[in-house]
């Protein structure tokens, strides 16, 4: 993706490292780079996170709006994703390069979240056929160092966990017009269940082996990569990004992705709960955080 020239020798070094299960930054093929997140960083959004995976830096903000449900899904809410690449995230993002990538990522997320097993859209319904919440998930990429799909899906999950939707205390249907009363107390709000929200795991084929969480250098060396959406233990999305896979390799990489996603899911959820316990649901005030 990024313009980052590598010499043949460097490429061979990375390739051999992957074969020996010892990548150029010391990781094994199953390892992720360090992650860091922080929720509730944007007060003007209902839910937000800043998520870092190594040097990738992402901010997600979620705003709910009231909308009318689709006629073929009358008792479900809506969720939509928008990716915005900051011009300095990658040199390629200047001009139109970033727009294609942004579209691809948002479509992937849309697909992964549309599966019934992955995210309960019924919870977003206010009055079947008439009124529902539509969640606008806006993703801002500040910086990218490989593996955007994974980092963004983790960030979205954290932001959804953090999202607070105003509680509707009464909804009346009065001759076709809907009369909603929202709770007066700003702290009285609904939370979303994100336990099964999908995680995207990109596996990259380098040589004969598959790795997770490729760095920018490894992305250049890869001969094929595939994005796998995993919600809990179910695969909800398969999408090749580049190259081609032998059916056997494909099976292996799915196994690898599901196992990794399961581990990350538990870690992520426990970290989210721990953070909330520490900070509490209120807006943060301490100065140590990034966006304060």
């Amino acid at each position: 993706m990024a313009y980052n020239p590598l010499s043949e020798a460097e490429k061979t070094f990375i390739l051999h490292g992957v074969q020996d299960d010892f990548r150029n930054d010391g990781r094994s093929r199953r390892d992720y780079r360090p992650m860091e997140f922080e929720t509730n960083v944007i007060t003007s959004a209902s839910g937000s996170t800043r998520f870092c995976l190594a040097n990738s830096d992402i901010i997600v903000g979620i705003k709910p709006e009231i909308d009318v449900p689709l006629s073929n899904r009358p008792n479900e809410g809506k969720i939509d994703f928008f990716v915005d690449c900051s011009a300095n995230a990658l040199l390629d993002f200047e001009g139109r390069g970033g727009e294609e990538l942004a579209l691809e990522i948002s479509n992937c997320l849309r697909l992964a979240y549309s599966a019934a097993e992955s995210f309960d859209l019924k919870a977003l319904c206010i009055l079947p056929k008439h009124q529902c919440w539509k969640l606008f998930v806006d993703i801002l990429i500040l910086q990218c160092s490989g593996n955007l799909y994974d980092a963004i899906s983790f960030a979205v999950k954290c932001a959804l966990f953090n999202t607070r939707i105003p509680r509707v205390s009464s909804a009346l249907l009065d001759g076709g017009n809907v009369d909603l009363t929202l709770s007066d107390d700003p702290l009285d709000c609904d939370r979303l269940n994100v336990e099964s929200a999908p995680l995207l795991v990109t596996t990259c084929r380098i040589g004969d082996q598959c790795v997770v969480d490729p760095s920018t250098e490894e992305e250049i060396c890869s001969t094929g990569s595939i994005v796998i959406g995993v919600s809990q233990d179910k695969v909800t999305l398969l999408k090749t990004i580049s190259g081609s896979f032998h059916p056997e390799t494909l099976e292996n990489s799915i196994d690898l992705a599901v196992n990794t996603a399961l581990k990350i899911n538990t870690k992520l959820l426990s970290a989210l709960k721990e953070e909330e316990k520490k900070i509490g649901p209120s807006i943060r005030h301490h100065k140590s955080s990034f966006l304060m």
Partner: protein, 252 residues
């Protein structure tokens, strides 16, 4: 229309006094893929500015007949404002004016002759806003990013707003709440006074009307605000330089 902007005890809506700034907090070098960057928090406004360059001009910019190519790009995050989600603004008139203002402000302080035939890109992400003071936050954040990138400038350039109550008391650093309660707002960007050099103002914008007799008072108030902001920026830059120096020393 004009609500009580200042209480009989001399406190404003958010508890500040008439000549107090909102909380400012600064971080330098927040992004490492560019040559200089800064995060600037001013009250509830959050801005990230980044600089890339000086570099060889790209094809698109070298078509323009200029000696120094300075590109400014401003982006409002869709979740930056309270209330409804913002539509993605692209090439809108408002954004265009914003970018042009910033460009003009910084062309007056950057030592352009040092960067002949090269390109400098300033990129501003507004993550969260508090009223119309985005331009102030953008100017201050960009100053920090330029210094972080090591671009030669004549002086710090700081921007600040000021307003006036109906009783003629000048208010420094207007918040969104004060802005919408109907007070007039003056926005200036200035190079603060250093030694023999006098202050010079490189950007002025005035909304609504003032009596001419009040203009001096409010101008003074805003200029003093700029000086205060300069002190804060300067301290942040110095402490950042110290920290970097210390960490370099301990690393070796």
């Amino acid at each position: 229309m004009n609500h009580e902007l200042i209480s009989p005890q001399g406190l404003r809506i958010d508890g500040r006094r008439q000549n107090e700034l909102r909380q400012i907090s600064i971080k330098l070098g927040v992004l490492d893929r560019c040559d200089g960057s800064s995060f600037y928090l001013h009250g509830n406004t959050k801005v990230i500015a980044s600089i890339s360059g000086p570099k060889h001009p790209s094809k698109a910019s070298s078509k323009k007949d200029e000696n120094f190519y300075f590109n400014v790009r401003v982006k409002f995050a869709t979740f930056s404002k309270n209330g409804e989600r913002q539509k993605v603004m692209k090439n809108s008139k408002l954004l265009g004016e914003f970018e042009l203002n910033l460009k003009n402000i910084f062309k007056s302080v950057i030592l352009v002759e040092k960067y002949e035939k090269s390109q400098l890109d300033l990129n501003i992400e507004i993550l969260q806003t508090d009223g119309g003071s985005e331009i102030c936050a953008a100017v201050n954040a960009a100053t920090l990013a330029l210094i972080d990138a090591g671009i030669c400038m004549r002086e710090y350039i700081c921007a600040c707003t000021a307003s006036l109550t109906s009783d003629g008391i000048p208010l420094l650093d207007v918040s969104h709440l004060e802005e919408i309660s109907g007070g007039p707002t003056l926005t200036i960007a200035a190079l603060p006074r250093i030694g023999d050099h006098d202050q010079s103002v490189s950007f002025v914008e005035l909304s609504q009307k003032f009596y001419l007799k009040d203009l001096n008072k409010i101008f003074d108030c805003a200029l003093r605000g700029c000086e205060k902001i300069r002190a804060i920026l300067d301290e942040a830059i110095r402490s950042n330089a110290n920290e970097t120096a210390i960490s370099e020393l301990t690393d070796n």
